[in-house]
Amino acid sequence: MDHSTRAAQFIRNEARVHWHDQALWYVRVKRDKMAQSVPEWENLREIAAQIKAHTMSRLPDYLEMFEENATRLGAKVHWAVDAREHNETVYQILKNHGVRRVVKSKSMLTEECHLNPFLEARGIEVVDTDLGERIVQLAQEPPSHIVLPAIHKKKEEIGELFHRYLHTEKGACDPTYLTEAARGHLREKFLKADAGITGVNFAIAETGGLVICTNEGNADMGTSLPPLHIACMGFEKLIPRAQDLGVFLRLLARSATGQPITTYSAHFHGPRPGGELHIVIVDNGRSQILQKPEFRRVLSCIRCGACMNTCPVYRRSGGHSYDSVVPGPIGSILSPAQDPQRYYSLPFASSLCGSCTDVCPVKIDLHHQLLAWRKELVLQGLIPFPKRLTMKIMGWVFQNTWAYEGAGRLVRWIVPKLPRSVLYNRWNVWGKQRELPPFPKESFREMYRKRRIQESEARNRK
């Protein structure tokens, strides 16, 4: 199923689309306010992009430096080529410690690797502790946004879900009441957990430390009670120096939710006294992206979600329409790199308006990459036949003046004469929700030509 088919399901409920659109636009507005309050914002974005580009150019050195320093501090570093090895590694660590209950804080990587079902199938309870993630976990749905996982859910639906699983009052849907119920429920999980699994926002090469940012404090709670902490990271999370965090922490929360900084920005250097820290560094297709010059900048992404909040397509089609772990503009260039056959339609889920590129805190050229992906997908022969054929015909018409003029004349003459049933059929995708405009009698070229003649006649008369 392609993006537009899934989006069509989402937009069936017009009121809901409007609500979703507004909820995300509200976050975008908050982001703007915060960005504008920093006079050196543009400079910060440029520097962040440079730090990331520099890191990519020296990645092997920095990765080895990171491993050396992290090991010196007492952490154990593991490497995983793909999702399978990542999951196996995590499972082995948990098994060796006899872990039965795990609390997990938000990590898009573990979503990408489908760690939860892997561990659950082996008898380990995994509880997502970010409230949004817990909501979608209870609903047995994937997150629809990387920062706001349950943004697609109405509070009434969450109330119902909590009534079923957390025994809240039937019909209760006040966010404060529901959050309080989740607090109680999750506190119990925190206290009973044998291990905490987290993602990583930044890994510092020169110190061997990890930085994890949350608003709820779930990553910190989940790693300061049980003795075992497993942190999972894609290798692109690396930054060279601790001082680079000054740049990234100023950008991250402002871009993500319009906050000056996340409530908790935790720096982990080595394990807790008496505890263990395991760091799993994952490739899972990232090195393939790195080898493509036109697409490698996507690895600079710091997962703020600003491109989703601003995207007119994302806001109106919902995160699930992308059917990928990371939705929105960034997901539309990450996913086809992972599996072009499955995600061929995502780079077309964009108007190429460029708003994503404008807000990206690390200046990824998102809309250029979306366009480049379309070309790549055509070259790979992954575009469905009707689209390929239409593009071929259009290309030929645009290249030949006589065909272009002739086609225009034909359409202007014939369309007004055709009955509705012929015009608005299933092949006219454009006409699904829209009326065709009234067709003009003559084309711009014809009008222009006529005007030129009139003008020269007028001149001659003088």
């Binding site: 909820a23 935790a266 790195l290 010059p293």
Partner: protein, 196 residues
């Protein structure tokens, strides 16, 4: 070949152009009145800031805080501040901190730009206390206030094992319909005293 070698070799196959590591020297905003800025931002993120001259004044303010008046389980790691009822050092297991209502702890320095306070686990038996307590009170020397995050990192070295966290306000979430709710998993309030 180990997975590490496989990954590094795959990365080495690509050769992104060399980009110099930028200099961060000129970055950072300085405020005319950093204390005011700090208090304002902290308030905006759901916390509160008190500027007091000394410990006596701090204790007076403390008694006015409603959650403090009602609290039974209080931890204070600052001598002379508040009236602790729980001996933190004698708690063996961090899980036993579950019912702590108020924790009064030291903040190393504060950041005016974003209302954050830097705290660490240095000499602290259980770092869980920052998150598990119902209400968090951080006491910071007023002279230890930096303008921005760049100045903050100038102060931090990370040469030894340890844990540190910037805390900016109380634990919060907006995961249900973007409605802000204070008190997600961690403290329901975050009060910072700037002393001196």
């Amino acid at each position: 070949m180990t997975s590490k070698q496989t990954i590094l070799q795959a990365i080495k196959k690509s050769s992104p152009p060399e980009v110099p590591l930028p200099d961060l020297q000129d970055l950072g905003v300085c405020y005319e009145n950093p204390e005011e800025q700090f208090a304002e931002v902290l308030k905006a993120v759901g916390g509160s800031c008190f500027r007091v001259k000394n410990i006596e004044a701090l204790n007076r303010e403390l008694k006015n805080l409603k959650f403090y008046q009602n609290a039974r389980k209080i931890i204070s790691l600052l001598p002379g501040v508040g009236e602790p009822t729980v001996d933190f050092e004698s708690v063996e297991d961090p899980h036993h901190l579950e019912d702590v209502e108020v924790a009064i702890l030291k903040g190393e320095f504060a950041v005016a730009e974003n209302g954050a306070v830097w705290v660490t686990d240095r000499g602290l038996r259980h770092r869980a206390i920052y998150f598990i307590t119902q209400h968090l009170i951080l006491v910071v020397d007023a002279h230890q206030l930096v303008h921005n995050m760049h100045q903050a990192y100038e102060r931090l070295a990370f040469t030894n094992p340890g844990y540190g966290v910037f805390i900016s306000g109380p634990s919060k979430t907006a995961d249900i319909e973007q409605a802000l709710v204070i008190g997600a998993h961690g403290p329901r309030s975050c009060t910072v005293f700037l002393v001196g």
